[in-house]
């Protein structure tokens, strides 16, 4: 019997078609990011462009955390710390880099980096390059931190590991808060300061102010595309299966030859890298001031909500949940866009209801139908509720965290695997479950021939 290695070599395809297949998703991602930047932004307006920007950052965060919490089942609740590290590294590089290079920390980017319309600028400038480089640097430093935090996972599991990650996050936060001092404003000040003291000049408890707003839809969604691509390709490979197997059963996984410690640390490092990138994007977003107080464990909990609601291990689930969690407060504040769609939603709910009734009458399982109907109806109800509340002088957007907390608890009780479980939106088996509810119930204990 030939070994796997020799068979692999036999089956290795030619290099050129492989290259095309490897690269095209990234090209599509770049295309989408460009389209968002140059076509979508002028259409949807500044406000929604900003919402879209936040959604993009959230997606990167949620998908990166999915790689740890979802794939390997290690429970990290200090993810915001990596974001913070990446944000500060990237912010520091851009701020002081601009100061040294151009004498001012103002935005020196081109049209790709602009969130402001009608600005005459070249397509791409050195400022953009500095920004892109700083993102990677922030990611790398965060990845190093991820390695450090990943190491305890050699010995700790479950809630203990969770607490360590939380402790790590708090330590990072307190260190930045208390051991750094005011930002330097002029080139002279920078030149007078010893180089090794520069990392401490990032603003302390007051936050890192004056960062230029480089984060545009293009950069953010380029980041989203890369993150999604990496996450999906990892999941759909030997590495990803090893991650998931650790989550499912660590002992069996080890018995199948998976070096569980190594893979856990890998997951931490990769996740931290992308969280760091997201932090860099966040730091340079319009309307954001990088402040350690905002990136404590409550921010980590925000990311966890996205990951858990989406389904522990589902990339698309995390991305969708990130979008919902980000957009819902806005919708609750101003439900009109949602309410414009109410006939569609109501129609959908009605169709689902009829289908569920038909299933029930013919003795078939209709649980997933009912579940989807509930989701649609909840959306509708939230819309109308928000409008009613707004009329009464309340803003339902303020109650978003209560809603998410309740959703989290209910999800754990009713659908512990999250909306999608480990499966992706495009997985056939996910929809097969729904399709099955239309067909006769499966026979129990069927044996195989």
């Amino acid at each position: 019997m030939s070994t796997l290695r020799s068979r692999s070599v036999e089956m290795t395809p030619a290099a050129l078609p492989t290259l095309v297949r490897s690269v095209w998703p990234l090209l599509v991602g770049v295309g989408v990011a460009l389209a968002l930047q140059f076509f979508a932004k002028p259409v949807i307006g500044d406000f929604y462009a900003k919402v879209l920007l936040d959604i993009g950052t959230s997606i990167i965060l949620a998908v990166s955390l999915t790689m740890v919490n979802g794939f390997t089942g290690q429970f990290s609740i200090g993810h915001a710390a990596f974001m913070m590290v990446g944000g500060y590294v990237s912010g520091g590089i851009v701020y002081y880099g601009s100061l040294l290079a151009w004498g001012s920390a103002d935005m020196a980017g081109g049209a790709l980096s602009s969130m402001i319309d009608g600005r005459e600028a070249p397509f791409l400038t050195w400022g953009d390059a500095l920004f892109a480089g700083s993102l990677v640097a922030g990611g790398l430093v965060a990845a190093v931190c991820g390695y450090v935090v990943g190491l305890p996972s050699l010995r700790l599991k479950g809630d203990y590991l969770a607490i360590v990650t939380l402790g790590f996050g708090e330590i990072v936060r307190v260190l930045i808060q208390s051991q750094t001092s005011d930002v330097l404003y002029t080139v002279e000040e920078v030149k007078e300061t010893a180089w090794y003291l520069m990392p401490t000049k990032v603003g302390g408890a007051l936050g890192f102010s004056g960062l230029p707003f480089y984060s545009s839809l293009f950069w953010v969604f380029l980041g989203v595309a890369v993150t999604l691509l990496v996450a999906y390709r990892l999941k759909d490979s030997a590495t990803g299966r090893a991650f998931l197997s650790i989550r499912e059963d660590e002992i069996a996984s080890e018995a199948m030859g998976v070096n569980t410690t190594q893979f856990k640390v890998r997951a931490f490092v990769i996740a931290a890298f992308f969280a760091g990138v997201a932090g860099g994007l966040f730091a340079h977003s319009i309307g954001v001031q990088l402040n350690p107080g905002e990136l404590g464990f409550l921010k980590s909990f925000d990311i966890i909500i996205m990951v858990v609601l989406g389904g522990l291990g589902s990339i698309s689930g995390a991305a969708i949940a990130a979008a919902i969690v980000t957009i819902l407060p806005e919708l609750l504040r101003n439900p009109e866009p949602l309410l414009k769609m109410w006939p569609v939603l109501a129609g959908l709910a009605a169709v689902l209801l009829v289908a569920a009734v038909v299933c029930a009458m013919t003795g078939r399982r209709a649980r997933s139908l009912v579940a989807w109907m509930c989701i649609v109806l909840t959306l509708l109800g939230l819309g109308f509720g928000a409008r009613a509340a707004a009329a009464a002088g309340h803003n339902l957007g303020d109650y978003r965290m209560i809603l998410f907390a309740l959703a989290l608890i209910l999800m754990m009780i009713l659908r512990p695997q999250g909306l999608f479980g480990v499966r992706e939106v495009w997985d056939r088996s996910l929809w097969k479950g729904i399709a099955d509810s239309f067909r006769a119930p499966p026979k129990k204990g069927g044996t195989n021939k």
């Binding site: 796997l4 089956m11 492989t18 030997a238 002992i251 018995a255 199948m256 030859g257």
Partner: protein
């Protein structure tokens, strides 16, 4: 003492105690290539502990395990799996949320290169490897008769199928020795017949060397060439099925202490 050249697994007097309890004492085993050995004994005799010692879940206090001429004593489980010792579990430990196919593909993990960078960039070799993994996984699923269920989640399989999936997963590591921990437990008689056929087929097609823990004596006595009997961590008998069945020590271990002496004793005192 040099091991016989054809011994693929050589266990030399391993011992393990937990606290004061001597779970396994002086356990010896020599498995020639292609053999099928049964390991039986009453509850708590230390059978699964032996498996755990062999596969690195526990480290033996003393003694050594040699696999294919290579000392594997005290290695971490994943290294032992890499060295060619693979197992199934008494209480099934499948990756429930993953598909049946992915479970077996994971078994191929230990023979694969699995670089993070390669996976992301999808190098030609990576694609070839993934194809090879999928091909061998599907072949193994065919062998255990689960090909039709490849895309289902493992946790949704019926019990007997789960047992067979565990065997396929263990085979996917291309082991030198396969350890099966109660593969027939919880199976109905029909499934047991199929299991016997499967094990015979594994020996024929894969030239597998198998160590089998099993409580179903029907299965054990039927397919094993030799049987080792454990009781209280000690090896109390070893031999062919017939020898073992007629061994008084074995009968005592299974059916209870010397019946007559014990009961007359009890009866005389019980009447007080």
């Amino acid at each position: 003492m040099t091991p016989p050249t054809d011994a693929v697994l050589e266990v030399r007097s391993i011992c393990k105690s937990f606290g004061g309890l001597k779970a396994v004492q002086e356990f010896n085993l020599t498995l020639p290539r292609g053999s099928l050995r049964g390991l039986i004994g009453p509850n708590g005799a230390g059978k699964t502990t032996v498996f755990n010692l062999l596969t690195g879940v526990y480290k033996p206090d003393v003694g050594s395990v040699v696999l294919g001429g290579r000392e594997i004593t005290g290695m971490r489980p994943f290294r032992i799996a890499g060295a060619g010792l693979s197992r199934t579990f008494q209480n099934i430990r499948l990756f429930g949320e993953l598909s049946v196919l992915d479970n077996v593909r994971l078994g191929c993990h230990v023979r694969a290169q699995h670089g993070v960078f390669r996976s992301i960039v999808r190098t030609p070799f990576h694609r070839g490897e993934e194809r090879a993994i999928e091909a061998s996984a599907r072949r193994l699923l065919g062998v255990v008769g689960l090909l039709g269920r490849a895309d289902e989640q493992a946790k949704n399989l019926p019990y007997g199928d789960q047992r067979r999936l565990e065997i396929a997963r263990a085979l996917a590591t291309e082991p030198r020795v396969l350890l099966l921990d109660e593969p027939a437990a919880g199976m109905n008689s029909q499934e047991k017949v199929a299991l016997r056929a499967l094990i015979q087929r594994l020996r024929k097609e894969f030239d597998a060397t198998i160590l089998l823990i099993e409580h179903d004596m029907g299965v054990v006595m039927d397919i094993c060439e030799r049987i080792t009997v454990l009781d209280y961590g000690k090896t109390i008998a070893e031999g062919t099925p017939d020898e073992v069945q007629s061994n008084p020590a074995v009968i005592e271990a299974y059916l209870g202490a010397d019946a007559d002496a014990g009961s007359s004793h009890a009866a005389s005192k019980g009447g007080r």
